[in-house]
């Protein structure tokens, strides 16, 4: 039987196992929306803005490992979804974004709600397709899911002109697909793995630096096994938090610009570095000329272009980190050579010395609420078992530093693109993927206003999120940079004329609470988190002057951190060189 393109699309999504479709309707998408109305397998989630739909699908994908699927209309629907697409692209998140397009005969005529969707999205997708014939539609959808979820994952856009969604064709959904031009490497080169093991076992001052690749390939159990087998220190990137349990003694914290003193100095002083599924991002490396001067570097990554892009590595291993970890563990177990325990012991003494600096210390007796304190309480109240999404800025770093993630896929943040407005819609996606889980969105009064309209979506679908708003009446990270590097000229970083966020939350049908005393923090969190039926907007009025420490400034190396005045030995801010 022949089906319309719209019916083919919806049926293909169902056959692909898509449960939720996050979207927003419009003219060019109307046939598709009609097809959605006539079935009940794929549930459409109506956001309040295409950006919200995109980030929600992204949060769904990050927390579940399944691809996030988005449907938007042509023109402004597409331009609005570009930010979520770029966000997913930077963090290698599998998404399929269906963009409706004006009818084929109108393309190129500057028709109503027409944009060159393929052209606009091209630089920020893994791949994109324009469907020109309804007979290609099902295969294109299969290809899109395959490309999005295999190799190094990423977003794939399918642009479908309106006439294609009306045209009819036989529906045949391929079971699998093979593309001659796209063959991701999975197995690591055995010779490279052997070399890597030799170097790894000869280390005196090793470090394991792992990133989002571990989470993307669902192998944090194997990372744990490897780290414990070797007894080497492990640090995670911002994207990798939870890949290795934060409460484990072998974990030395996050590394990079706002990483721990011990993680960054371990990176600086190490003689062997094993990088697993991370990409030597500039926020991780600091000044590349000063990066880990004594290290022999082993880099495992599925994307050959990540290797020696910013940092030249000694032993590259291209392939799936999951498969390669298996092989590494197998070889280490049967190897006669064992880690150098004597050297390792000395190394750990040194690392423990760095730990004593207590680099994330803050004033626990403050009469004003400290943002770190709120995160610590959130960690305690949720017993470390919540899904935490965040926006971008100081609150993001405080959450990354002070919420100890022990499991992968629990920390949901926009690492690469740094997209303010990500947190709330992403938290919605997480809640759809895990309806019974506790989901908190850590945000600030700047970020939350970028996608605030999604509070309405939360109402429609009864999403019992807890929004932890760290309200310091400043764009905190901008203010911090202006304090450090612009002689305290606080240009446009003060959020004047803030709305009453409690009333706003109430206006959307939720519960809003303003918290101004440190002693009220725990109670408010308990109240919000124990009520699984309502969304709570907790507006914490926090210290306006708090900064994120430690910090590696622009052009500095890992060993040149700016430490908090509260850290051991530093009653003043100081730089270590």
């Amino acid at each position: 039987m022949e089906l319309s393109g719209a019916d083919i699309l919806v049926k293909a999504l169902a056959d692909e196992g898509v449960e939720f479709l996050f979207g927003y309707p419009g003219g060019a998408a109307l046939h598709i929306y009609d097809a959605l109305y006539r079935q009940d397998k794929v549930k459409h989630i109506l956001a309040r803005h295409e950006q919200g739909a995109g980030h929600a699908a992204d949060g769904f994908a990050r927390s579940s490992g399944k691809p996030g699927v988005v449907l938007v209309t042509s023109g402004p629907g597409v331009t609005n979804v570009v930010t979520p697409v770029a966000t997913a692209h930077m963090d290698s998140i599998p998404m399929v974004i269906i963009t409706a397009q004006v009818s084929s005969h109108l393309i190129g005529d500057d028709a109503f709600q027409e944009v060159d969707s393929i052209g606009i999205t091209r630089p920020c997708v893994k791949h994109n397709f324009l469907v020109k014939d309804v007979r290609d539609l099902a295969t294109t959808i299969k290809k899109a899911f395959y490309v999005a979820t295999s190799g190094r994952p990423g977003p794939v856009v399918i642009d479908i002109p309106k006439d294609i969604t009306a045209d009819k064709a036989e529906y045949i959904y391929p079971k699998s697909i093979n593309m001659r031009s796209y063959q991701p490497v999975i197995e690591g080169h055995p010779g490279q793995i052997r070399k890597a093991i030799q170097v790894l076992l000869s280390a005196k001052r090793p470090v394991i630096y792992s990133g989002g690749g571990i989470i993307a390939s669902n192998c944090s159990d194997k990372l744990r096994e490897l780290v414990r087998l070797l007894g080497y220190p492990c640090t995670n990137t911002l994207m990798g938090l939870g890949a290795y349990p934060a409460t484990d003694p072998l974990f030395i914290g996050m590394l990079g610009m706002h990483g721990t003193y011990e993680a960054n100095l371990t990176m600086h002083e190490c003689d062997v570095m094993l990088c697993l599924g991370a990409r030597f991002d500039d926020r991780v490396t600091g000044d590349t000329n000063k990066f880990s001067p004594y290290a022999k570097i082993i880099h495992v990554d599925i994307d050959p272009s990540s290797i020696s892009k910013t940092i030249s590595v000694d032993i590259p291993v291209v392939g799936s980190v999951d498969v390669i970890l298996d092989e590494m563990i197998r070889q280490i177990k049967k190897s006669d050579r064992k880690p150098d325990t004597e050297a390792l012991q000395k190394w750990w003494v040194q690392i423990d010395g760095w730990r004593k600096i207590d680099c994330m210390a803050y004033d626990r007796n403050s009469e004003i609420i400290k943002p770190q304190f709120v995160i610590e309480k959130l960690y305690e109240v949720t017993q470390g078992d919540a899904f935490v999404s965040s926006d971008v800025g100081q609150h993001q770093m405080f959450a990354a530093q002070h919420y100890k993630f022990d499991k992968p896929r629990r920390w949901i943040n926009s690492g690469g693109l740094g997209t303010m407005g990500f947190g709330l819609p992403a938290a919605m996606g997480v809640q759809f993927a895990h309806p019974d889980a506790t989901v908190a969105c850590v945000t600030g009064e700047g970020s939350i206003q970028m996608c605030l309209q999604e509070l309405s979506t939360c109402k429609q679908y009864d999403l019992p999120l807890t929004i932890v708003n760290l309200n310091n009446r400043y764009l905190g990270m901008v203010r911090q940079w202006q304090e450090f590097f612009y002689d305290r000229r606080y240009s446009n970083s003060y959020m004047d004329a803030l709305p009453d966020l409690v009333k706003l939350a109430e206006g959307y049908g939720h519960i809003g609470i303003k918290i101004e005393e440190p002693s009220d923090v725990e109670g408010a969190l308990k109240e919000a988190l124990s009520d699984k039926s309502r969304l709570y907007f907790l507006d914490f009025i926090t210290d306006q002057t708090e900064n994120v420490y430690p910090m590696i400034g622009a052009g500095k190396g890992h060993h040149e951190m700016h430490l908090s005045p509260r850290s051991a030995g530093g009653d003043e801010e100081r730089e270590l060189a």
């Binding site: 091209r122 630089p123 001659r180 031009s181 272009s305």
Partner: protein, 163 residues
Amino acid sequence: MRHIISILMENESGALSRVAGLFSARGYNIESLTVAPTEDASLSRMTLVTSGSDRVVEQITKQLNKLIDVVKLIDLVENEHIEREISLIKVRATGSGRDEITRLVEVFRARILDVTDTSYTIELTGSYGKIDAFLKAVPNDSIIEVVRSGVLGIARGEKGLRL
């Protein structure tokens, strides 16, 4: 160093823009780029001349390979290869200048395709360097127009870039 990268791509619409977009987005330099279908209608062949340090060129080939539509590519400069470029050159030719141009055409084994009282239009095929040399040899003020195809390249020997 100058590199000639030969690419086999799926002959899909937008393939060229993916390559061009990659170069502009990442700040790589393109000296020339030619693209045309091959004997297999589903593939198109692109020849791209670029330059940069070894590290940059390594990134360029990796990033090109990462494009989903790229089936295969080689850097021709890594091995023995042949490169050719075709150019059409219109020059002002009057008086004694006419003989001089004709002589140069002979020396370079070029051909004159069109003649007027005051101009010649010349076809010259050769390596990139040969065309440069010809353009230097022709008196500068006599050149009216130069059109170059960009470099085409192929590896020496029996091996070919194919599926």
